[in-house]
């Protein structure tokens, strides 16, 4: 009886949370299928389902170029950041060196630094360096802001991997690099996946840098571009189009989560040693 009550409680709580978090998504999705004046129909569902908004969105250069920028910038930033963080986290987890604590606390300090405070100086610097409104101009801040997070996540994963794994690999004839690449990285795959998702989300969702450090279609990412959407006429709000764009933007995130879902499920190291 008590068990049933407990289960019921959890189920209710779960449903409440899911509804609460999915409602805005569902609403935006429904909005994106409403055509013309239909957005004022005062109903949740569209009166007539239409793909017009999606067509409109893909017809605008503003959006397509922004999508290209967003994908390119986020993927490059994620790849570099995760690769660097993996190596750095491995060193932090495994090696004894001077200033190890300093590296970790500096990383934490950077992660806590308010981004808005950096935007102004970066704007000036990037302009004088000539990388204002370029991909690299966004990739650099993304990397530096995501590295601490990735390093912390990954180093905790590396710490869980038994030392003996590497020692066994070394005795089997592996160089330190081979042991790292063939044994440690595969074992830390859930960690790498987690870090990848976190880093990609940060870059993909960023608005502050995106709007401040870009000026044209050359580098402007989607979140910033959405702010530049206009309606068909001056009096028309581009709500439906923005909704459609938002739905499209959500898709890569969902794909990423689905791809890494299996990896994130932990327990990969079970059976490595006596368990």
């Amino acid at each position: 009886m008590r068990w049933n009550r407990k289960t019921l409680g959890w189920t209710v709580a779960g449903v409440v949370i899911v509804v609460y978090s999915l409602l805005p998504v569902a609403w935006i999705t429904s909005l994106s299928f409403k055509q013309g004046d239909d957005i004022n129909n005062q109903q949740f569902w569209p009166t007539r389902w239409s793909l017009d908004n999606y067509r409109t969105v893909f017809d605008t250069d503003l959006f397509t170029s922004a999508l290209r920028n967003s994908l390119g910038i986020s993927l490059i930033a994620t790849a570099i950041s995760v690769a660097l963080a993996t190596v750095a986290a491995y060193a932090i987890a495994r090696l004894e060196f001077k200033g190890k604590r300093a590296v970790l606390s500096t990383a934490l300090a950077i992660a806590m630094f308010p981004t808005v405070a950096l935007v102004g100086p970066l704007f000036d610097m990037w302009r004088s360096l000539g990388i204002y409104d370029t991909w690299i101009g966004l990739i650099i801040p993304y990397i530096s802001f995501t590295l601490p997070l990735a390093i912390w996540t990954l180093s905790s994963f590396f710490r869980q991997i038994p030392w003996e794994m590497e020692q066994a690999a070394q005795v089997d004839g592996a160089t330190a690099w081979q042991a790292f690449r063939k044994v440690i990285v595969p074992l830390a795959a859930p960690g790498v996946a987690t870090a990848t998702i976190l880093v990609f989300f940060f870059a993909w969702n960023d608005f502050v840098f995106g709007i401040s450090l870009t000026a044209t279609d050359r580098a402007r990412p989607v979140p910033a571009a959405l702010a530049f959407f206009t309606g068909e006429t001056f009096f028309e709000q581009p709500t439906a189009a923005i909704s459609a764009a938002s739905v499209i933007v959500t898709i890569p995130v969902m794909i990423l989560v689905l791809v890494f879902q299996r990896q994130i499920v932990s327990g990969l190291t079970s059976g490595a040693v006596k368990g």
Partner: protein, 399 residues
């Protein structure tokens, strides 16, 4: 294949004041099976890790064959090691786990297949090749770890307490397996264990280490058992352990709580000057006097004692006889017990008797002791004063 030579090997961990391995020299011949045994904290695993290169050498040298390997990386030493926790790669299946060392050397695929299959065949792993380590039982994981060791032509095998995570029954099987494998392959093997039964049954030679990484004695199991150099080795080797009795010398007479024994002149000279000595007798060197003929009775020490507890095991039985010991001996024995990871127990004799013997608990029994098999130790240094005498020299006779 090659031998391994340790030359005054010493290891002091940073921050530690006393060495973990202290001046150990050991010559392991080509194809020999050598066991490093000792209680926990005696540095036996550290020695193994220095041989394989996972631990730096503080002083002294490690030679593999004729090559000094102190500064070589583990991968350049070409040794195969089986870890206590197996250390299988959980993301690879059994086949790839065994093939791992070969893959690192970019061996061609068909070569890998023949070698892995041969190893799997030898260890009866054929049916498990597609499984992941997580799906294997402890014994199977152990075999995979061994497969990974034997798949390449390593100079030597190193085992670090490979059976300590298995249950008692499986341990017995794997012990035989390892023994058979080593005979078959004839590769130099260094095997670390804290279990003296493993040590005695597996090794060509056994090296006994004591806390602080001091080598006590290296010899074939029989010599360790019959001629221990000191109290530590005597107490460590043998199960149930050797009995230690307090003894005093008066003229040429050795006085034990259970009776007096006449010492041979040379032994009397060695023991002269010691107030108190410790006499060591193995449990099986006692007998129930009722089972002996008169001839044998006369060549041993007969004594009466109250048997406290009897443990009947089917093939034999253990009789426990408590006795009183003076403070000095008690202290020495207590220190020894601590060092051997044993519980400090009451001073008592453990006597192995024939399973047919009809001595009952609490009864007063007439027992017999074979003085020729007795050892005499100096309680201060622990040195065996009777060491080097053949067991049949009859140095000790009846009073």
């Amino acid at each position: 294949m090659t031998g391994i030579r340790l030359d005054h090997l010493t290891k002091t961990f940073s921050g530690a004041t006393t060495p973990a391995v202290d001046d150990v020299s050991l010559d392991i011949a080509d194809g020999e099976f050598v066991i490093l045994v000792g209680p926990s904290g005696c540095g036996k695993s550290t020695i193994l890790r220095m041989i394989v290169g996972l631990e730096d050498v503080t002083a002294g040298d490690v030679y593999i064959g004729d090559a000094l390997v102190n500064d070589k990386a583990p991968r350049d030493r070409n040794l195969a090691m089986v870890f206590q926790n197996y250390a299988l790669y959980p993301h690879l299946n059994v086949y790839e786990n065994i093939a791992f060392p070969l893959r690192l050397h970019h061996a061609p695929d068909n070569d890998v297949r023949t070698r892995v299959e041969r190893a799997a065949d030898l260890l009866e792993l054929d049916e498990l090749l597609d499984r992941k380590p997580a799906q294997l039982s402890g014994g199977q994981r152990q075999r995979v770890a061994m497969g990974r060791a034997i798949v390449r032509d390593a100079e030597a095998f190193l085992f670090d307490e490979p059976l300590s995570n298995l249950d008692a029954k499986l341990r017995g099987q794997m012990r035989t397996e390892i023994s058979r494998l080593q005979n078959q392959l004839g590769i130099t093997t260094v095997y670390v264990t804290h279990d003296q039964i493993e040590a005695m049954t597996l090794g060509d030679r056994v090296a006994v280490l004591r806390k602080g990484g001091v080598l006590q004695q290296v010899d074939v199991p029989r010599v360790l058992y019959e001629q221990p150099v000191n109290l530590f080795v005597a107490g460590f080797i043998g199960s149930p352990p050797m009995n230690f009795l307090p003894a005093t010398v008066e003229a040429s007479k050795l006085h034990l709580p259970i009776g007096d024994i006449e010492l041979a002149p040379d032994l009397a000279a060695t023991t002269a000057g010691h107030d108190v000595l410790i006499a060591g007798v193995r449990p099986e060197h006692f007998e129930d006097a009722a089972t002996l003929d008169d001839e044998r009775k006369q060549h041993g020490l007969l004594f009466h004692a109250k048997v406290d507890v009897i443990e009947w095991l089917g093939s034999e039985q253990y009789a426990y006889v408590p006795f009183e010991a003076p403070e000095q001996v008690r202290r020495t024995l207590s220190e020894l017990a601590t060092e051997l990871d044993l519980e400090q127990m009451r001073t008592q004799l453990v006597i192995t008797l024939d399973a047919d013997t009809r001595i009952s608990e609490g009864s007063d029994a007439e027992l017999w002791l074979d003085p020729t098999r007795m050892h005499i130790f100096d309680p201060e240094s622990g040195e065996n004063l009777t060491h080097g005498r053949g067991v049949d020299t009859r140095s000790l006779t009846l009073a």
